[in-house]
Amino acid sequence: MSRRTPSVGALYLPGVEADPKPGAYRALIDTAKSQNDEYSKIWDLFAFQQDFTIHLARFTQGVLRQPTTISPGLRELIAAYTSHQNECGFCTRAHAAAAAELLGDEALVSQVLQDLEQSPLEEKEKLLLRFTAKVTKNPSFLHAGDVTALQSASWDDEAIYYAITTYALFNFYNRWIAGTGVPEMTGQAHREQGRSLAARGYLRE
């Protein structure tokens, strides 16, 4: 983490922030605080209910990193795009940074977030992002035709499964993060976190 002023802003829930349970996240928080470093306040949420958030971290690692027919970079881009639809600043910046690292193209990621249609992303990938935006907005509007359109664009069922699970997971994270008031970090801290997520993933055990 960058050696800057500590994260500005607190969670809405000081009772959560003040009660980290012993474990990997508490150790990360203690280290960051002792060095006066900015840190990702999502760690406070993970530390508060360490007993079961550990399973959430494993689930996240599987959904975003398990080798499959859709690359981790594209899954991170779906995470960032979904977070952008849901206006979750922290998640958008965190996963845009991870996507930029994994895809090796920061400009492409910002173009996609600014205007998907005008971006130089491949049409096949745009189709997947349009699909995730549609079901993020209106989950019950999905119909079988939406999925067959993806299959016709030669996405296999495994890729579609991972795409659906990714946007569903971020419809959770965006609300957990924004609803508890996790603040955005500085650009530098988000870039460093993106590099860490790209290199070592989500497991902290």
């Binding site: 979750c88 079901v135 419809n171 609803g179």
Partner: protein
């Protein structure tokens, strides 16, 4: 149940309606009153505040403000209860999309859901070992 109902996910709505009823000694009438309108249902101020936060979380995490949290606290909610409300509402915004996104086959009829709700209330969510 309230979040799934507003998201129009019938499977999640009906299974958690039944689970809630089984946690409340089978009181489907109370659960249905909450589903129709939490503002008029016979529930505590605290629960009403928490359900209002859950609805805001459903619309989008950004809708929740520090004032909403302060109101729930004034109505007697602890930070743990407020956090769990946000966590549960957010989790169902995932589950609803998971179920609908994968076009999961879901049963119809009260009995299947009642049985499911009873199991969820008594055994929880981790499947028993075979």
């Amino acid at each position: 149940m309230s979040v799934s109902s507003a998201n129009d996910c019938h499977f999640c709505r009906d299974s958690h309606r039944a689970a809630a009823a089984h946690h409340l000694e089978g009181d489907y009438a109370l659960v249905d009153a909450v589903r129709r309108d939490p503002r008029t249902a016979p529930i505590s101020h605290k629960l009403r505040s928490l359900l209002s936060i859950a609805e805001k979380v459903r619309q989008g995490g950004k809708q929740v403000t520090s004032e909403d949290v302060a109101r729930a606290r004034a109505d007697g909610a602890t930070d743990l209860e407020i956090h769990d409300t946000v966590l549960i509402a957010a989790a169902f915004c995932m589950y609803n999309r998971y179920v609908d996104g994968l076009a999961t086959w879901t049963p119809t009829g009260h009995d299947a859901y009642d049985l499911m709700g009873q199991r969820m209330a008594k055994q929880g969510y981790v499947p028993p070992n075979p």
